[in-house]
C-alpha cells in the first residue's frame, strides 16, 4: 500500500514535470515551426490560411530568397566573419584570461575590471566613437575592420568566463607541467585550454550566435554590399512599409540552419562538462 502511494506520487510528480517541460519546449519550438510553416506559403495565403500545415506548399520561396537576397555572397561572408571572430575571441580572451588568472603584473585587477566594465556599455553607445576611430584608421568598409570590432564586442564576456575557469585550475597541475619544462604558453595550450573545454563551447555558441545575427555594426562599418553579412539579405524582404513574409521566413529558415548545427555540435561539450562537474562559470 505504502509502495503504491510512493509509486503514484512519483508518477504524478514525473508527469507534472514532463508536462511543464513540454510546455516550455513548445514555447521554444513553436516559433521555429511557425517560421518554417510560413516559408512554404505565399503572400496571398500567409494571412488567410490558418491551418497548421499549409494547404498548398510553395517551395519556390527558398529559391527566391537565395537569389533575390543574394544569399550566396552573404552566406560566405557570414561564415568568414563567424569563423574569424569566434576564433579571434577564443584565442585572445583565453590568453588574456590566463594572464589575469595566473600571471602577476602591475594594474592587473584594474585592467581586468575595465574589461568587465566594458560589458556594461551598450553597443549603440560606442557607435560614433567606433566609426570615427575606424575611419581614421582607414578600416571602414573592410572585412578586417569589421572582424576587429566584432572581436572587441565579444571579448569582455569571454575573458570573464575563461578567468572563472582558470581560477579553479589546480595549481599543482601547473607546477607539475613547469617542472616538466613547460613554458607559460605551453601550460596555457596543454593544460588550461583542455581544462576550459566547456567554457570554450559556451563561448563559441554564444559568440557564433552573436556574429551570425549581427547587422547593426555591419551597417555602420561596411558600405559595399559584397562585404555584408547574411542579415543584409534578409533586410531586402522587409520594406519600410511592407514585408514579403513567406520569402523572409524562407530566408530566416536558411539562416538558422548553420547556427543550429553549431549549437548541436557544441552542445555535447557543455553536457559533458556539466556531468563531470567541470562547468564552473
Amino acid at each position: 500500500m505504502r509502495t503504491n502511494k510512493y509509486v503514484l506520487w512519483g508518477m504524478t510528480k514525473s508527469t507534472l514535470i514532463h508536462v511543464f517541460l513540454m510546455s516550455v519546449a513548445m514555447t521554444c519550438l513553436f516559433p521555429i515551426f511557425w517560421m518554417i510553416r510560413c516559408a512554404f506559403m505565399t503572400n496571398d495565403t500567409v494571412f488567410v490560411d490558418k491551418a497548421l500545415i499549409p494547404h498548398h506548399l510553395n517551395f519556390g520561396n527558398f529559391a527566391t530568397a537565395w537569389t533575390q537576397g543574394n544569399f550566396a555572397v552573404y552566406f560566405l561572408n557570414s561564415v568568414i566573419y563567424t569563423v574569424c571572430v569566434v576564433g579571434g575571441i577564443v584565442l585572445i580572451s583565453s590568453l588574456a584570461a590566463y594572464s589575469f588568472s595566473r600571471l602577476k603584473f602591475p594594474g592587473k585587477n584594474i585592467i581586468f575590471y575595465l574589461f568587465v566594465a566594458a560589458m556594461m556599455i551598450p553597443l549603440p553607445g560606442s557607435f560614433v566613437a567606433l566609426f570615427v576611430l575606424m575611419t581614421k584608421l582607414h578600416l571602414v568598409n573592410t572585412r578586417f575592420g569589421y572582424i576587429l570590432c566584432m572581436i572587441n564586442v565579444g571579448l569582455s564576456m569571454s575573458i570573464l568566463l575563461f578567468k572563472t575557469f582558470f581560477d579553479k585550475m589546480p595549481p599543482e597541475l601547473e607546477d607539475a607541467a613547469r617542472i616538466d619544462g613547460c613554458t607559460k604558453l605551453g601550460i596555457w595550450w596543454n593544460m588550461a585550454m583542455p581544462f576550459a573545454r566547456p567554457a570554450i563551447a559556451v563561448i563559441v555558441i554564444f559568440n557564433s550566435l552573436n556574429v551570425w545575427n549581427e547587422y547593426i555594426l555591419a551597417t555602420l562599418l561596411l558600405e559595399d554590399s559584397k562585404l555584408m553579412p547574411l542579415q543584409r539579405g534578409l533586410v531586402v524582404f522587409q520594406g519600410a512599409n511592407s514585408t514579403d513574409y513567406p520569402v523572409l521566413m524562407a530566408g530566416l529558415t536558411m539562416a538558422a540552419i548553420p547556427i543550429i548545427v553549431v549549437y548541436l555540435a557544441m552542445q555535447k561539450h557543455i553536457v559533458k562538462g556539466l556531468s563531470s562537474g567541470e562547468v564552473l562559470g
Binding site: D44, F127, L220, D224, S225, V235, S242
Partner: protein
C-alpha cells in the same frame, strides 16, 4: 624594447589618423539611402544615368531606418558623409546638419530657369525642407532638400463591404460616416480600424478635425498658450472619439494596434474603413491584390473651417555641402525628380511622385490620394509646434477616452495642466 614598440605603435596610429587628404572632384557620385523597396529601381536609375551622362552613381542601401540614422550621425561626426543622403529626423535635427555645413542650400538651383525645378515639385513637399526668413531654427533662409515622393493620410473604404451594408456612396459628413458605420455594424462588419496604438497617427486624425472645428489660428494660439485646451472647441475635438467609441465605430483593441496590424485588418477585409497614409497602396497590393477600395478625406464635422489633412514629403534627399561633387549631385537629383523618372518610380513602387507632372502616369488610387495634397498641411511646415510632453498628454488622453477611462472634459483638463506646466517652465 617595450618602450620602443609602444612609441612605434603610437606613431603609426597618429600617422594613420592624420593622413586623410582633402577630397577632390570625381566622375563618381555616392548616394546612401534606407528605402529597401526602392533599391532596385534606384540601381536601374543609376545605370540609366551613367548611360546618359557618363557619371557613375553608386547607390548604397542601409536598412532598417534606425541603423541608417545611426550611420548618418556617425558619418557626419567623422566627416565622411556621401554626396547625397537623407536625414530621417525632425526638422530641428535637419537644422543642426545645415548649421554644421553638412547640407547644401539648393535655392539657386531650384529658382534657375524661372523656377522650373521648384515649380515642378509639390510645394507642400518642398516646404518640409524650406526654411523661411526669421525661422525659429536660426537657419539661413533657403531650400535644403529634394523630395523624391510625397505622402498624405486619408480615409480609405472597402467598396465591397460598404455595398454589403447597402451603402451606395461614401460619407460626405461626419454624421453620415457614423450612420454608415452603424449600418455596417448591423450586418456584422467592423466599421473602422487604424493603427492608433501609434500616437502620431491618432494625433494626425485629431489634428485634421481640430483644423475643421476651430481653424489654424486658434490651434496655433493654443500652442502659444493664448487659448486653453478646456475651450469648447477642443472639447468638441475630444468628443469625436467619445462618439466613435459610444456608437461602436472602432475595432476592438484599436488603441493598442500598430499600423502594420491595422493594415492587415483592412487588407484582409476585416474592417470597412481605415485611416492610413498613401504608402498603404503598396502594402495592400502586396497583401491582397484584389482589394477593391477608394480614398476620401476624413468627412468634415463642421462647415466653419476647411478640414486639413497631413501631407508632405515622403522621402527627401539632401546634398552634402562639403562634397567636391556638389554640382553633379544636384544635377543627379534634378534628373531623379524629372517627370520621366518620377513616373517610373511611382509605377514601380506605388508611391506618390513629388513631381506634379508625373501624376498623369500613376494608378487611379494614387491619383485620388494626390487630390488631397491641395488641402494638406504638416507639423513640419507650421510656424510653431506644440511641446512634445503636451502632445503626448493629448494623444494618450484620446486613447483613454477611446477605452472609456476618461471623459473629454477630464482629458481637456489634464492636457491643459501639462500645458500650464510647460508654460511655467517657459516652453512656449
Amino acid at each position: 624594447m617595450r618602450k620602443f614598440l609602444t612609441l612605434c605603435s603610437c606613431l603609426i596610429f597618429l600617422a594613420l589618423a592624420g593622413c586623410s587628404q582633402p577630397p577632390e572632384p570625381s566622375n563618381k557620385l555616392l548616394l546612401w539611402h534606407w528605402m529597401t523597396d526602392r533599391n532596385d529601381t534606384f540601381q536601374k536609375f543609376a545605370q540609366e544615368y551613367q548611360k546618359e551622362t557618363g557619371k557613375e552613381v553608386t547607390i548604397q542601401l542601409f536598412a532598417p531606418s534606425d541603423s541608417y540614422s545611426q550611420k548618418i550621425i556617425a558619418a557626419a561626426q567623422a566627416n565622411v558623409l556621401p554626396d547625397i543622403y537623407g536625414i530621417l529626423d525632425k526638422k530641428s535635427i535637419v537644422a543642426d546638419f545645415i548649421k554644421a555645413d553638412l547640407v547644401a542650400d539648393l535655392t539657386k538651383d531650384m529658382e534657375a530657369d524661372g523656377g522650373k525645378w521648384e515649380n515642378s515639385l509639390f510645394d507642400k513637399a518642398l516646404a518640409d525642407r524650406r526654411f523661411d526668413a526669421g525661422n525659429t531654427y536660426g537657419v539661413a533662409p533657403g531650400i535644403y532638400g529634394v523630395p523624391i515622393d510625397v505622402t498624405n493620410e486619408q480615409i480609405l473604404y472597402n467598396k465591397k463591404l460598404l455595398a454589403k451594408a447597402g451603402i451606395k456612396a461614401p460619407p460626405q459628413t461626419f454624421d453620415e460616416f457614423v450612420k454608415d458605420a452603424q449600418a455596417l455594424k448591423r450586418v456584422g462588419i467592423t466599421p473602422f480600424v487604424s493603427g492608433w496604438g501609434e500616437l502620431w497617427l491618432l494625433d494626425c486624425f485629431a489634428s485634421n478635425y481640430a483644423f475643421n472645428i476651430m481653424g489654424e489660428e486658434k490651434i496655433f494660439d493654443t500652442y502659444r498658450g493664448k487659448v486653453k485646451y478646456t475651450d469648447p472647441d477642443w472639447i468638441k475635438v475630444f468628443s469625436i472619439f467619445a462618439e466613435l467609441r459610444d456608437k461602436g465605430v472602432l475595432m476592438d483593441g484599436i488603441v493598442t494596434k500598430g499600423n502594420k496590424y491595422a493594415e492587415q485588418d483592412f487588407a484582409l477585409e476585416r474592417a470597412a474603413f481605415t485611416f492610413n497614409g498613401s504608402w498603404c497602396v503598396n502594402v495592400y497590393h502586396d497583401m491582397n491584390p484584389d482589394l477593391d477600395y477608394a480614398v476620401i478625406p476624413p468627412p468634415p464635422i463642421s462647415t466653419a473651417y476647411p478640414l486639413k489633412i497631413w501631407g508632405s514629403a515622403g522621402s527627401t534627399f539632401v546634398v552634402n555641402a562639403s562634397s567636391p561633387n556638389k554640382n553633379s549631385a544636384i544635377a543627379f537629383l534634378k534628373w531623379l525628380t524629372a517627370k520621366e523618372q518620377q513616373v517610373a518610380l511611382a509605377r514601380e513602387t506605388n508611391n506618390l511622385p513629388s513631381n506634379k507632372e508625373a501624376l498623369a502616369g500613376v494608378s487611379p488610387i494614387l491619383e485620388e490620394f494626390a487630390k488631397g495634397m491641395d488641402q494638406s498641411t504638416h507639423p513640419n511646415i507650421w510656424p510653431l509646434n506644440e511641446d512634445p510632453s503636451v502632445s503626448e498628454a493629448f494623444d494618450k488622453g484620446i486613447q483613454d477616452i477611446i477605452i472609456g477611462e476618461k471623459t473629454p472634459e477630464q482629458v481637456a483638463e489634464e492636457v491643459q495642466k501639462a500645458k500650464d506646466l510647460q508654460m511655467a517652465k517657459g516652453n512656449h
